[in-house]
Assembly symmetry: C2
Homo-oligomer: 316 residues x 2
């Protein structure tokens, strides 16, 4: 005999409140509704839930047992409401986030770490991919947010991209690199060293070529290729290799005092780091919360960079 859990809730409310009217009030229903629900249930079960003809409604033995179960259901219902409330506040749920590995590892992951400690109940599903795939996955609802360097014209109409960092690349090398000591860097010197190249399909690889072209270097030795920032860093730190990295990534790395940027200005990319999401659909609260967190983190990051810039002279 399956019983509607709502009926058990009603029983619990009426028993605990000591009356139909009070019980109905607790449940946010009208007294006749509760009365009828109980009558129907009594008839269906063939059980007198309340002693008939008693005015302060007197629960039966069996009714008390059922009320006990009803209380559990009321509690579970409240807990469930709490879950929903948490979700709507954006303090639980999950966000699917993707971006190119260099940016994600170099800049975003640190921000995600502090986000995690503020909102431990939001799960972040992070993956790595480039702009085209990010667009496709967001459009097919396999992704909530993308953090990718893009040109505004690239972004599909169905998506919205908000710029969070101006595109800017630098030549990176290890701290103490022979070329870093020199005041004036000659192009011939740059070309002598081996280079670390990002994967050929990555935007950064494209940036690398155009950047070098912009300073007149056309032919380089590629000593290592890899998509993982940590691999790049390892090579960078342990050799005299050079590479092109986003300035923001090098800026973050500078704290470790193992990697630095050459103070020569290379051509800036026409892609700027954007946070990308669906245009028409309202994102989940957790997604919104993460997005605005990342935006504000980048805002203060920009300030930090600006302040630092005032003390550095870049040669072009």
């Amino acid at each position: 005999m399956k019983i509607d859990p709502r009926h058990l809730e009603i029983i619990a409310a009426v028993v605990d409140q000591g009356g139909l009217t009070e019980g109905a009030t607790l449940l946010g229903k009208s007294q006749p509704s509760v009365s009828r629900s109980l009558s129907m249930l009594e008839r269906r079960l063939g059980i007198n839930l309340f002693q008939p003809g008693r005015r302060p409604l007197q629960p039966t033995q069996t009714c008390l047992l059922l009320a006990h179960e009803g209380r559990k259901i009321l509690q579970a219902g409240e807990a469930a409401s709490g879950v929903v409330l948490h979700y709507q506040r954006g303090t639980n749920g999950a966000v699917r986030l993707a971006g190119p590995p260099i940016f994600m590892e170099g800049v975003v992951s640190g921000m995600l770490a502090s986000f995690q400690s503020s909102f431990p109940d939001i799960r972040i599903d992070q993956s790595y991919c480039y702009a085209a795939e990010v667009f496709a996955r967001i459009e097919s609802d396999a992704l909530d947010l993308g953090i990718v360097p893009v040109r505004a014209s690239e972004v599909p109409d169905s998506l919205i991209a908000k710029q969070i960092l101006k595109g800017r690349n630098v030549v990176a090398c290890r701290v103490g690199h022979p070329i870093a000591r020199k005041q004036a860097v000659r192009l011939a010197e740059i070309a002598q060293f081996p280079w670390i190249a990002p994967p050929a399909d990555s935007p950064l690889f494209h940036d690398l070529r155009t950047a070098l072209e912009s300073i007149g270097v056309s032919d380089i030795k590629v000593g290592f290729t890899g998509a993982s920032l940590s691999a790049v860093i390892n090579i960078l730190e342990g050799s005299d290799a050079l590479t092109v990295l986003p300035y923001s990534v090098v800026f973050m790395l500078r704290r470790k005092k193992t990697v630095d940027a050459l103070s020569i200005r290379i051509g800036d990319p026409d892609r700027h780091l954007c946070i990308v999401s669906r245009r028409n659909e309202v994102p989940s609260p957790a997604t919104r919360r993460l997005a605005s967190f990342v935006e504000s983190e980048f805002a203060s990051f920009n300030l930090l960079i600006d302040r630092h810039e005032q003390n550095v002279v870049w040669r072009s």
Copy 2:
């Protein structure tokens, strides 16, 4: 945001079974019904319970939290079903039982004690009253069962009375009473002793008068009046008083070896002990169980008495 507990059940079932169809089967519903219920809930809550476009339906983070609550509700529902099942088997619930104090205390209470140990979850609400009130209370649904000595003609049409013991009274006295030693009891001797009388409104009082008239005694000394059997016993044991009691009561008391019956036959009452209940209404399972228990106890009690009778000579 109040959530229908049935929806939480559905979530739990679908998550645990790993699919809509299986979940629906568990709940005894059709797959489309479950599908629609979940869709409506998702829209209402504004929460994706399952990742869209995934064929083995993949629950969201929030969905898992809700499923956890749903499981509690499913469990409570099963427990409630168990309660109802118990009730229908008559192994829980409550029975309201009434009868005259002498019979209830002297014979029935012992039976109720063994019933209690067999069915500890059935509560027995016992009270004392005579036939007229028993009838009225059963008819007004303030009582489930009555155990009273009645004439068949007295019983209202709405009630049904099943005889469980033939009416028979005896003169009772303490063991070792002077009159008990004598082979032949003369009427004059009986009249010498003080008598214990039941309350004037009790059937037993009427029996007392007619019984004494039947053996030619018309005038007696009444030394004590009381409705409680234990009070009567106390007086009986501690004095040479006599009284009229149902034979069944004295038969039970004989085990204590303090009270006995005079071996003279007095007029049998025209009331017989019956178990009374409503005729048209189906009694609760617990009521039926108690009624049949009492009936069978009296059946074996009758056998016991019959066997004993073969060894006793009664003088009239």
